[in-house]
Symmetry: C2
Subunit: 199 residues, 2 copies
């Protein structure tokens, strides 16, 4: 796995031919149990790296299109899967816990429900107030710039815009790590404000 902008954050990626961008997953290493977010299938090399970093206790899935390899990894490791409360009725994977808006998932990891995306209540995760991890709604197709999921995929454009504006108001975000597209490791709030102004 690749070191991200902090010593306790790692990521692994997979290039997607259809969209010409990388999909990403995040590992947060913490003494009280490591957290994976939207985990893609892992190579043997990354699995062994993960083991050396303490394995995994929790898997957070931001939306039903990002289940990826979560069920398989949970089956092999015993990790508990947490999913978005807004999708509880139709979620394709068994979740031990459903995450609501403004809920602290584990200490230091707060969930925000985004509205109007392609699924209801997609989660964006704020890690220790400075790192924003997003699912599908906030993404990056062009290096250094954030964008919105294409309009034809949104269920409600206005709600989506309001959700982005709410997230952009969170102060002091350094890094934005989208599930799809380029990560942005510095000046995250600046990029979120540019995105919000452009909508």
């Amino acid at each position: 796995m690749k070191q991200l902008h902090r010593k306790d954050l790692f990521g692994w990626s997979e290039f997607n031919n259809e969209r010409n961008l990388d999909f990403h997953s995040v590992l947060w290493v913490r003494e009280e149990g490591n957290v994976l977010i939207d985990p893609l299938p892992m190579s043997e090399h990354d699995r062994s790296h993960l083991q050396r970093l303490g394995g995994v206790s929790f898997i957070v899935i931001t939306n039903s299109d990002h289940c990826r390899d979560a069920e398989h990894i949970a089956g092999n490791t015993g990790a508990a899967i947490y999913g978005p409360a807004g999708e509880e009725d139709t979620f394709p994977v068994f979740c031990e816990r459903w995450i609501h808006d403004n809920e602290e998932i584990v200490p230091g990891l707060i969930a925000y429900q985004m509205q109007g995306s392609k699924t209801p209540g997609e989660l964006a995760l704020l890690l220790e107030y400075t790192t924003l991890i997003t699912g599908d709604l906030i993404r990056s197709h062009v290096g250094g710039e954030l964008c919105l999921l294409p309009e034809e995929k949104l269920t409600d454009v206005n709600q989506a815009i309001q959700s982005i504006k709410r997230i952009a108001e969170l102060p002091g975000i350094k890094a934005v790590l989208p599930g799809d597209g380029w990560p942005l490791f510095n000046h995250g709030s600046e990029a979120l404000h540019r995105l919000a102004r452009s909508l």
Copy 2:
């Protein structure tokens, strides 16, 4: 390939198990002939993407450890390979042209020779004054931060530091695209100054 921070710049990557980071290559699309920099092997998908974007006329190699798939790609496409003049005597690949310090390779692409790295005269390339493309000496092991090649690999630490300081003085660099490790699409000069100050 992935769109970088400009519509005419693309990249493709390969995760390296040994270093736990991505290696990167850059494509610059231009009417007068596309340029590849330090090209890694391409997938069938990326080769066909490259063809749709106009193929390749020139391949620039920053140093002899970044020849990667250049010779093979040149063989298939007829592209001309340009290499660093400082390595002319020992370079492993035939080059049609040897690039010197401060030389304009094609209009808008200026080479700077870096000294003290693991090979003599490694090139850093400045594209239209705002995008710096580096080989091995300037890299990024931690998201959002640039670093120097590990000291044990340098042939002359002081020369390497002087080369970095010279590059950091170039005004108005927006993006830094290292051959090894995370790209940095915004506030490039700021990160170069942080690196220079840390040495």
